[in-house]
Amino acid sequence: MSWLIFALAFWAAAWGFNIWASHQGFARQRGWRLLIPGLFGVTLLVLWEGIVRGLEVPGVILPAPSAIWERIIDSLPVLWADFAQTILKGALSGYLIGCGAAFLTAILIDRSPFLQRGLLPVGNFVAALPIVGIAPILVMWFGFDWQSKAAVVVVMVFFPVLVNTVAGLAASERMQRDLMATWGASYWQGLFKLRLPAAMPFIFNGLKIATTLALIGAIVAEFFGSPIVGMGFRISTAVGQLSLDMVWAEIAVAALAGSAFYGLVAVIEKAVTFWHPSQRGRT
């Protein structure tokens, strides 16, 4: 019981602090903008731990954060193997192939308005479909190993990147294109010096959406069959054995990997589109 009271008291104190801090002038500073949500996250963890211990929730329903942490430390090699199998092999290779293919397709259809008018509605339509559903088919075609997961990821990331790239290539203004024409720029010069740089914010928007899709595709595809390693495999078997601390450990890894992947793309975006208003003045 004392755990519960402690957790609730901690929660009240932290929330009170956050209310106070967020009304101060210095809350706009960078450090505080990180500290306040950080404290909120810690509060959630303390509340979770306190409720699990205080109400003695069995581990097969909700393991405490401390138990999950212990499990993460204990099974680092397993988690690393799963991470390498699912994220590095499955998701990353699929992401590179899918985004590359979408980018090249967008460049190819760039010169044909006819194809663009045809492919864009289809691409938009497909982007809204539950594409993860093709996972069982691709697992059947490419086998249980990471190749089939990469294939699922390729299909999942292709359309969002394609649609965004095509939209981006249309983003430069008439006046800018005319200026290129007055300089006698060829199609390729216009593409590389004006339209591709102008398209970058859009392309990176698609690439960022695709990071999450890539992880989802790689993990869910493993639910349909996988070798005995991989995050999706580990999650589904650990759920079957009711060792939920392992499931949460994998979810923690997935969350970290997802944020890191997204962060990496965002960092590259910042370096490439430093000129864009949304990036200027943010250091």
Partner: protein, 287 residues
């Protein structure tokens, strides 16, 4: 309307490629059979066989169409083979989850906009959560809820709600903040209360943003419901249909379930789009 011809061309191209791929992929089996029977097959026979195999590697489009037609119209809708039955199971979980997630998302967004502490503490997490493959928790939610006695529609709806929740939060916060300083100042000169500002300015201004995120989140809810049907134990729903098809190598069944899910998703997004258009026209935001 001028894009009808290009779209049809692209669709036709897809169909042609699909048929060609079906012949290419299914021919291996035919050649194998012929080699065992020590018979020669002509290319014409291979093509003919590729169109009618019972468990093809890639079913030809007309086989999938036949499977879909059989699933929708060929069975009593209560039958376990009927796609209407499975589709309904998935759709009901999707809708319940979508409603819960949307309402929750709107409430949280209202809280975030009106409470500075909540804005600074919760909003970064709501944004960060979009980079996380949340779908991975689906099997656990199903099993844990089943172990405390909650089965059937609700666990799937929980996953759907979770997936549709964050897009709505992020979109709604953006929408509720979209009125600019000038409009807010105008309401101040009318000496409008905080509640009046909310109902008369912020909420109406957020509607276009809400619909944009609703289109994303309805598709996400459907994915959530389908993935929620994958873990062991689910016997009904499009996800279960996909899984059993992949266990027994019934490729036509997988493709039919997949297309049924696609039709469902397209239908849901279209319905939301229609409501969006009507609402915005009535609100005078679009003609």
């Amino acid at each position: 309307m001028r894009s009808v011809l290009p779209v049809l061309t692209v669709l036709l191209a897809i169909l042609v490629i699909w048929y060609a791929a079906a012949v290419r992929l299914n021919s291996a089996w035919t050649y194998d059979q012929a080699a065992r029977a020590e018979a020669e097959v002509t290319f014409g026979e291979v093509v003919k066989d590729a169109m009618v195999q019972e468990r093809p590697v890639l079913p030809a489009p007309h086989q999938v169409a036949a499977g879909l037609w059989d699933g929708f119209a060929g069975q009593a809708i209560t039958s376990k083979k009927s796609l209407v039955y499975h589709g309904w199971v998935t759709l009901s979980a999707t809708m319940v989850g979508f409603l819960i997630g949307t309402l929750g998302g709107i409430l949280l967004a209202v809280g975030i906009v009106h409470n500075k502490a909540m804005d600074l503490s919760v909003m970064p997490w709501a944004i960060a959560s979009q980079t996380i493959p949340i779908l991975a928790i689906a099997p656990m939610v199903i099993v844990v809820l089943a172990s405390v006695g909650v089965t059937g529609l609700l666990p799937k709806a929980v996953i759907s709600a979770y997936l549709s929740f964050f897009p709505v939060v992020v979109g709604m916060v953006k929408g509720l903040r979209s009125p600019d300083q000038m409009m807010l100042d105008q309401l101040r000169t009318y000496s409008a209360s905080k509640g009046q500002t909310f109902w008369k300015l912020r909420l109406p201004a957020s509607v276009p943003y809400l619909f944009t995120s609703l289109k994303v989140s309805v598709a996400a809810s459907l994915v959530g419901a389908i993935v929620g049907e994958l873990p062991a134990g689910a016997s009904a729903g499009l996800g279960a249909r996909l899984l059993s098809g992949s266990y027994y190598g019934q490729t036509i069944q997988i493709w039919s379930a997949l297309f049924a899910a696609a039709l469902l998703a397209a239908g849901l997004v279209m319905i939301v789009g229609m409501i969006e258009r009507r609402t915005l026209v009535r609100m005078g935001m679009r003609t």
